[in-house]
Structures are given as C-alpha cells and as structure tokens.
C-alpha cells in the first residue's frame, strides 16, 4: 500500500509539473466516440466523425450558433443562385487569404477537387451530392482562382444543396496535399482517415483508436481558436464519464444518463447544456390495403391513444421536446402547433367509426437497442399499455436493429417504433422521405401513397422564396399529420454536461460543436 501511495505521489507530482501550464489551453472532452471510423470529411457519416471533421475543415457556407435556417459566409464570402435554362447556377465568391494547415491558400480548384471527390469516393454520404443535389463530376467549375460555379439540374433544390454544404461532406480539402497521398486511385481516402488537410481552426494531431483523438490548433487558420488543444477521450461507460467529470479528469461529458443529468443540474460546479437533436422518434403504421392501419381513422385513433406527455416526463425525465409534425424543431418549416391531445375516448370513437370498435391484434416491431435514453423495450411497453386502453392489442417483437430495418424497408412491418434523422439540415431531409412514396423511403416503407403530399414536398423543396416555402411546409405538415402513417412521439434532447470553467460551448441541431469558440478558465 505504501509503495502504491508513493508511486502515486511520484506520478501525480511529475505529471502535474509537466502539464500544469497546459491545463487551461487543453480541453478534455469525454464520451463514447466508438462510432468514429474516419476523419475524412467526404467519407464520414457518423456523429463523432462529423464532430471531428467540422473542426478540421471549413465549408463554403455554414450555420452559426444554434440557428439552422440562416446561412452564413465561411470560405465563401458571397454566393448567389440563378434560375437559368440549363438549371440552377450557384456561384460562390471565395474569401482571399484563407489558408490550409499546410500553408497553401484555399482556391477554387480545391473546391472543385473536394466536390468531385465527394462524388467519386462513393462514400456513405455521397448520395447527398449525387441524389439530393443531383450533381456529377464536372458540375462544379472554377471560373477563376476565387470563383466557383455549381450547376444543379432543375429538379434539385438549391436551398437543400446550400444547406447540405454546411455538413462535413462539403468540407474543403487541400487538393495538392491529398493528391500527394493518393494510393491506387483512392482519392487519399486511406491517408485522410487519420490525417487532416483542411483550413479549419484545428488539425488532427493523432488518433489512438479507442483511446483518444488529439486536435491541435492550426497556426495558419483564419479562425484562431482560444484553445491550443482539444482531446476527445474515449470513455464508453457513462458511469466512468460521471466519475471523471466530477474528479476533473475531463471537462465535458457527452453521454450521461437522465438520472445523472438530474444530479448534475443541481450542482453549481457544472452546467447541463441542452440542445435539440434533429432526430424524431416515431411510430410507423403500415397503410397497405388490407392492413388494420389502412384506414386513416385508425391511424388517427393511435395518435389520440398514446400519451406523449407521460412518455416525455415519466420515461425520459423531460429530456425530449414534444412534437407532432414531421419537421423537427431547429429546421426551417418547423411547425410547433399541437393538433391533438391525449384522448382515449376520442380514439375509441374513431376506432368505432373505422368499423373496429373492439380493436384488433397486431405486431409492434422494435430494436433490442436503446431508444434515446431508455431501452426500446420500455418505450414499446408504454405504447403497448396506452394502446391496450383503447382495445388495440400490440404484441411487441424486439429484434436486432438491422432486422427491424430489413422488415420495415420491405414493407413487412405492421407497426414499428423507430427514429429518423434528416440526412441534411433542410426540411426536405424529412419532407420528401416522409411524404413521397416514390422516394422509396419512409412513406414507401409504410405503404402510404398520397400524391398531394408528394407534390407539396416537391414544390416546397424547389421554392426559393422563404415565405412561400414556409407556407408550403405548413400545408404539408398538416396533411401528413392528419392522413399520414406516422405518430411522432418526441424529439430527443441532446445533453452535454461540463464544468462551469468551460465557456462558449454551443451545439446546434445537427450536432455541430465549434471548438474554436470554446475557452477554459483556470
């Protein structure tokens, strides 16, 4: 024991001496970063990859603070959209003097290379460029060193394109640097997995898989960070995060449970930061002919039968926002109105009108995983109990998540309890998948084919006038709410807990955290 103590003292003293001066300029962010696969902006599609890439690379346009509806200049100081006979012409004027960490200037050829790379690399997010923006290699042109023009076909939404450029796939890489690391035509993918070549405020210093990701300030960056270093420390277990946050080993904890959050919110040394995730937790009902949910009145009855408030306050301890329409809070077109309330009597009446006064039996499919803060099984049990009160007998079947998706995608599920996050921060990221049967996404999986909804979604996507676009989304959200195959349960909150020494932490709905704005007090 003495030896251990002595050893401990030596270690603590020596470590303390070596690092004392770095404590306030280094931020230690603890979390379960296991989903990190790559730091390559054009390949990463997971949360942690995005968190890292967002701080290594700059995009042409960006969102600031928590606002996801107003685009702000970033590498581009100006941009405009023209409606021409060939399609939409989107022109960007680059800011002069922006530099990569390599010291080279960011020019139009880097933008062309990065956008073409996003398409050619065929990564998990390439469809944002090829299917959503509908662009190909050659659609992006450098008019001069500081002017870039992208031609979108008439069928693509220029608003959605600009919005998806704020996502890490739109990060601009140093084309010369990346080309010099290409291996057998991989566009530098292997190298960029754990190296960086961006103009963002940080550079990737090292990534010890499952241990830590070390980002250091980029001396050439236009946006100089207040911190010298940010370390993402892998702490997969929330209890370990709690202990480490309390002892000061980490400054920020990413994944605490609702009970821990409650305890930390009443502790003056810590702050619990709540942000809105763009995810929607919902129930999908198969509307196929012959399915018990084919009748819109039955679907409406389900919406009246489930007690949203009890789910949010009782199960989730308040860590969610109540929402009933398909565009989440935080996005343009969000509709905060509450159109129905918990009313089992009304649900029963609707079931009687639909010709099933005694209810029916069906299967409720959900994953064996966790649904936001609680096990999916618990959430499903609550839904089962609520539905039983109006005579609907749900048999819960819990299977591996990929199997839930398999059944759901094949239109084989009667009722599913799942979640959806938009692929890009634009209302169209939800509107088209949820309204247009032919988009082969959520409307298709629930066999809900409503041409009016599909048309409204298309119109709204292409509308460039915000007032008109907003009006179209109001119409669409109300239509889907009344007739659609969904019961939107809630929008989970995203909670981050940190020491009050940490200042400037802001997180938006697409989970972007800009480390350059964060500082740490001694």
């Amino acid at each position: 024991m003495k030896l251990i103590k002595a050893l401990g003292m030596v270690a603590a003293l020596s470590a303390g001496l070596a690092i004392a001066q770095d404590r306030t300029s280094t931020l230690i962010y603890g979390g379960d970063w296991t989903d990190l696969i790559t730091a390559d902006p054009q390949v990463s599609y997971e949360f942690t990859g995005g968190l890292v890439a967002d701080n290594l690379y700059e995009t042409l346009v960006k969102f600031e603070g928590t606002d996801l509806s107003t685009l702000k200049p970033s590498l581009a100081e100006k941009w405009n959209v023209q409606n021409t006979a060939q399609g939409w012409l989107v022109t960007f004027n680059l800011r002069k003097g922006s530099k990569f960490s390599t010291g080279r200037e960011v020019t139009a050829k880097d933008v062309v290379y990065s956008f073409d790379r996003a398409i050619q690399i065929k990564g998990p997010s390439s469809f944002l460029f090829t299917d959503v923006a509908n662009i190909k290699v050659g659609s992006t042109k450098a008019l001069d060193n500081y002017t870039v023009q992208v031609t979108l076909p008439k069928t693509a939404s220029p608003a959605a394109f600009l919005n998806l450029l704020t996502f890490n796939i739109g990060g601009i890489v140093d084309s010369e640097e990346v080309k010099s690391h290409e291996q057998s035509g991989d566009f530098g993918k292997a190298w960029l997995t754990d190296h960086s070549a961006g103009s963002g405020p940080f550079m990737l210093n090292r990534w010890d898989r499952n241990a830590q990701v070390v980002l250091t300030a980029n001396p050439n960056a236009r946006l100089q960070p207040k911190l010298k270093q940010v370390i993402l420390r892998y702490l997969p277990e929330s209890q370990a995060q709690r202990v480490a946050l309390e002892s000061g080993e980490i400054d920020i904890a990413e994944n605490l449970t609702p009970e821990m959050l409650k305890a930390f919110s009443s502790n003056p040394k810590f702050k619990v930061y709540k942000s809105d995730n763009l995810r929607l937790r919902y129930i999908g009902m198969n509307s196929k002919e012959g399915s018990p949910f084919a009748n819109p009145k039955v679907r409406e009855a389900v919406r009246y039968a489930i007690n949203q408030d009890e789910i949010i306050s009782g199960l989730l301890l308040g860590n969610a926002t109540k929402i009933q329409t398909i565009i989440p809070k935080g996005l343009f077109g969000y509709n905060p109105a509450m159109y129905y309330s918990y009313d089992p009597a009304r649900a029963k009446k609707l079931l009687a009108e639909a010709g099933v006064p005694n209810g029916f039996e069906f299967e409720l499919l959900t994953a064996t995983a966790s649904c936001d803060f609680v096990p999916c099984g618990d959430l499903a049990a609550k839904i089962q109990a609520d539905l039983a009160k109006v005579g609907l007998k749900a048999n819960i079947k819990q299977i591996q998540n990929s199997e839930v998706l398999k059944a759901y995608r094949a239109q084989q599920a009667q009722m599913v309890l799942v979640a959806w996050s938009p692929d890009f921060p634009d209302p169209d990221g939800n509107a088209t998948p949820m309204s247009d049967y032919n988009a082969k996404s959520l409307a298709y999986r629930n066999v809900w084919n409503n041409p009016t909804a599909a048309k409204l979604a298309q119109q709204a996507a292409l509308e460039t006038n915000p007032t008109k676009r907003g009006a179209l989304y109001k119409l669409l959200t109300e239509l889907v709410l009344k007739d659609g195959p969904y019961d939107i349960l809630y929008q989970p909150a995203q909670n981050t807990t940190f020491s009050t020494k940490v200042e400037g932490y802001v997180r938006n709905g697409q989970n972007q955290v800009r480390f350059e704005n964060i500082s740490k007090q001694p």
Partner: protein
C-alpha cells in the same frame, strides 16, 4: 518429446480451424444483415447492393467461407465491415493493451491468491483461513462491472489515490507507438514520468480484472495445499525433524504446484479473452472493447479475427502449461 510437440501443434491448428468454422457458421445463422448494420437506416438500395458485392456478402455461405479460409491461409484476416480497415491492423492495435492489462491482472492474482491460499491452508478453520475464505467468496461473487465502478468511484472519485479511466493522464503526451505496451513504449521513449503514470493507471483495472482470478486461485491453492499436507510423505518429513518452513517450501508447495499450474493456464487464457467489461469501464483500448463494438455492428470479419486470436492464444497457453508440467514434475514424460 519432439514428436509430442509436433502432435500438439497439429492439434492447435485443428482447434483454430474449428474456431473459424464454428464462428463463421454461427454468424451465418444469426438473423442479421451486416450491410444494413453498417450502412444504417438512410441507406439507398443501390448502396446496400454495392456494399454486399464489395464484401462478398452476396455469395452463398460456403463460398464466403472458402474465400475467407483461402485468405486466412495466406495470413490475411480480411477487412472490417465497419471501418474498412484490415482486421490484422486492428488486432495489432488493440491486442497489446489487452495483453498488458491481463498480465498485470495475472500478476496481481498470483501475488494475492497464492500466498493467501497457503496461509489459509496452514491455518485451517482458524481466523486467517476463515477471513481468506470469505474474501475469496466475495472476490469470486462480485460482478466485475460493479467492482470496477465501485473502485473507480472510491479510489479515484472520493479518495483521489488512483487515476481515472484510461492508460495515461489525459494531459500527458503519449509516447510514439512501438510495441503497443504503454509501459514498454514509455521506457523506450526514455520518458520515465509517463512510464510511472502508465503503471499507476494499470493498477485499478488490473485489480478489478484480477480479483475473481485471485479468489479462485486462493481457493485452489488452499485446497491443493490441504490435500498435500495430509499426505504421508509430509508426515514423514516432519517426523524426520525437518523445519516447518522447509516442509512447506520443499515438500508441500512443490507438489501442490501442479494443479495450481493447470488453473493458472486457464486463468491467463480467460483473462486475455474476458476483459470486455473491465476494458469498457476503464476505457482500455483492448480487444474486448473492439469485439463488443464489432459484434454489435455485425462486423463478422472482425469478430472472426478476435475469436481466432483468442482460440490460438488459449491453445498455445495450454500447450505451454503441459510442457511446464514435465519441467516441474520429473515423473511426467511426453513421448
């Protein structure tokens, strides 16, 4: 002896082949689709198709197995479905951390378990023996998960005697990776301070991982010692007037060593493959963590790689134990 060794090595190969076969076919009957697991909810149909083709998942199971074995014979463990990295690279990255932790836990288990077991045997049914038995019961019955969080909370959170999770202080600079063993790499970098820090970080997780083994070892040592102490030759030795310490060291301990050695071999094997929970709580970047993530994302090549490595390690440890028998007990001869 040589012929025996060759025979045993063939047996090791057979075991490892059995492991690949079993794991592969279990992965085939599991109702789960790796493509959907890797690509997620928003994936387009063409992406899924392309993924299946690229990873050979569109072929019948026996073809996939043949392809896998073909690659394996050439030393290629395949590519992770989740990270697209060669599985061998991942194992090289994560296995040393597990070995380092397991060896530390093993050492702690021996240092605690064996002496406690001997003391208990020598004081049968008296206070020290009863205490050891209760401790062994507790050590064996406390779930690793609970013990880990408890020790972390008390010794790091409350008392501050030990560092938190991880292999090094978060503010310290990791040494360049040479062996993957943090203790060795810090020494190779001539960074003594970080070396001490890495040892210090090793203690709590090693105690947690080693506690159940220490308990088992204490019970086994006690049992083996009691058995030996009741033998005629011990009585004879005592009757000859040999000093008590000499009887215990020369006559009893040496004969009790054989069954303990068997247990030790099994223990080391299970420590190496059973560190999942400890690694999760203490944020230890070993293969336990790796295989958990891989299994939950249906990354079968990665899971295969880990089971293969675990099977091989187990078989080799067993072989080493058998060879050690002959060394310790001259009566045992292999031929």
């Amino acid at each position: 002896m040589f012929a025996y060794l060759i025979r045993r090595l063939f047996f090791v190969i057979f075991v490892v082949w059995g492991v690949t076969f079993a794991t592969f076919f279990i992965s085939q009957v599991v109702p789960a689709d790796p493509a959907l697991a890797a690509l997620g909810d928003n994936a387009r149909e063409d992406q899924i198709k392309e993924f299946r083709q690229r990873n050979g998942l569109d072929k019948p199971a026996y073809v996939q197995y043949a392809v896998y074995m073909g690659k394996l014979l050439r030393g290629n463990l395949g590519q992770s479905l989740r990270t697209s990295r060669p599985v061998a690279d991942d194992l090289r990255e994560f296995f040393p951390a597990t070995v380092e932790l397991s060896l530390a836990a093993f050492l702690i288990a021996i240092l605690i378990g064996v002496p406690f077991g001997i003391v208990a045997a020598l004081t049968q049914n008296r206070l020290p023996d009863v205490t050891v038995r209760i401790l062994a019961l507790l050590g064996g019955a406390t779930p690793v998960f609970f013990l880990g969080i408890l020790l972390l909370q008390v010794f790091h959170g409350q008392l501050g005697w030990f560092p938190g999770p991880g292999r090094l202080d978060p503010y310290s600079i990791s040494p360049p990776r040479v062996t993957g063993f943090m203790t060795l790499d810090t020494l190779l970098a001539h960074d003594f301070r970080t070396f001490v820090d890495s040892l210090y970080h090793l203690i709590l997780p090693a105690v947690v991982l080693g506690s159940a083994s220490a308990a088992l070892l204490a019970r086994m040592t006690r049992g083996a010692m009691l058995e030996v102490l009741s033998q005629d030759y011990i009585r004879t030795a005592r009757a000859k007037g040999a000093a008590s310490s000499r009887v215990i060291r020369r006559h009893a301990a040496k004969n009790a060593a054989l069954p303990i050695l068997t247990v030790l071999g099994g223990l080391l094997g299970s420590l190496l493959s059973g560190a999942v929970l400890t690694e999760t709580i203490f944020s230890w970047p070993g293969i336990g963590r790796y295989v958990t993530t891989s299994a939950s994302s249906l990354d079968f090549p990665a899971v295969m790689g880990v089971t293969l490595l675990a099977g091989l390690t187990y078989a080799l440890i067993n072989l080493a134990v058998d060879l050690l028998y002959a060394y310790i007990d001259p009566r045992i001869k292999y031929g």
